[in-house]
Symmetry: C2
Subunit: 199 residues, 2 copies
């Protein structure tokens, strides 16, 4: 039956393009849309178009915003001398939840990954260097993910920045809070030992 309804097929296809949504789930979602009042489908469609049109990168930190400069960058209470460099806008949400960081951010929009054909030029590294030119920045915290690519990107950027006399730091490795040590992997434990602090 689905095969005979072109417009339903098209909707199923659109849903199944979403990451993590398979054909079966896409079909279920499409059928659900058909059961809703037309107003609901219209509101969804409007939200898609409005979000895609209005939201762009912040001119300063390259995070997502519907303003010229995002609320964090334009907040006078944030410490502009410390920049936390992250891979993804979603990482900012995680840091903001800690309520422990009062500096500003910079979003790379990815990591260097030769296998995926992503070179430094594909990331927002030029934009980061431009921010350092003002001389206002004292420290860069490299907060890329603790993966091979995240590490490589952090050390690549750190090599670029160090000659400019700006301090570069990296997030601490260690055992996660609340974790059970018997299940910790050997790399994490080794790093936790290496970075042990006196108490």
């Amino acid at each position: 039956m689905t095969n005979n309804i072109i417009s339903l097929n098209e909707l199923v296809n659109q849903f199944s393009r979403l990451p993590g949504i398979g054909k079966k789930t896409a079909q279920r979602l499409a059928f659900w849309i058909l059961e809703q009042p037309p107003k609901q489908a219209k509101a969804f469609a409007d939200a898609l178009i409005t979000a895609r049109e209005k939201i762009h990168f912040c001119k300063v930190c390259q995070s997502l915003t519907d303003l010229d400069i995002c609320p964090i960058c334009s907040n006078d209470n944030r410490d502009k001398s410390v920049i936390c460099v992250v891979e993804d806008p979603k990482d900012i949400l995680a840091f903001e939840r800690t309520r422990e960081f009062s500096g500003v951010y910079h979003v790379l929009h990815g990591v260097i990954s030769p296998l995926d054909n992503i070179s430094p030029d594909d990331l927002k590294i030029k934009e980061l260097m431009a921010r350092l030119a003002s001389g206002e920045v004292k420290e860069i915290i490299m907060a890329t993910n603790p993966t091979v690519e995240g590490e490589a990107t952090a050390s690549y950027i750190s090599r670029l920045i160090k000659p400019m006399g700006v301090k570069v730091s990296r997030l601490a490795y260690g055992v996660p809070v609340g974790a059970d040590l018997q299940y910790a992997d050997e790399y994490t434990l080794a790093r936790a030992l290496e970075g042990r602090n006196e108490i």
Copy 2:
């Protein structure tokens, strides 16, 4: 950050209304949309509106179609004297995959469920009775789900139809093909015993 971008919030809300999509997944999908070319968001929006506008119930079987009468109902090779009554348009897909059924369908769009406030009047039962009026129909196969509500709906409809002299049958219960008997539940096994056939 998300909290500051109204249009992003709205998109996340729309995604999280979808069945089975939680707040976290909705956020991931919304961010993914922002990474796509605007054309992609537009195509998704168009598919939503077109599907919702064009697709309606088939005048005969109440399944979904973008025509007046769906391809199954308008197919002269289908046996119009046997109607398979299902809960949901998706059930038709399952039957069509078997390639074993050459009759036509009728979609109830739900089951009687007093707990959910769904009474017989909320289902497409009137439309089914209207199809029987022609006298062309010889058998009704009740193919509602093997649940308490599905059973109740099947016997309710069967009581309505039997006085009209039309044969009413029910799908056979039994162990699923390929199943491991040690994991079969007692109700299914009991029904499989009850319905045993001579070989």
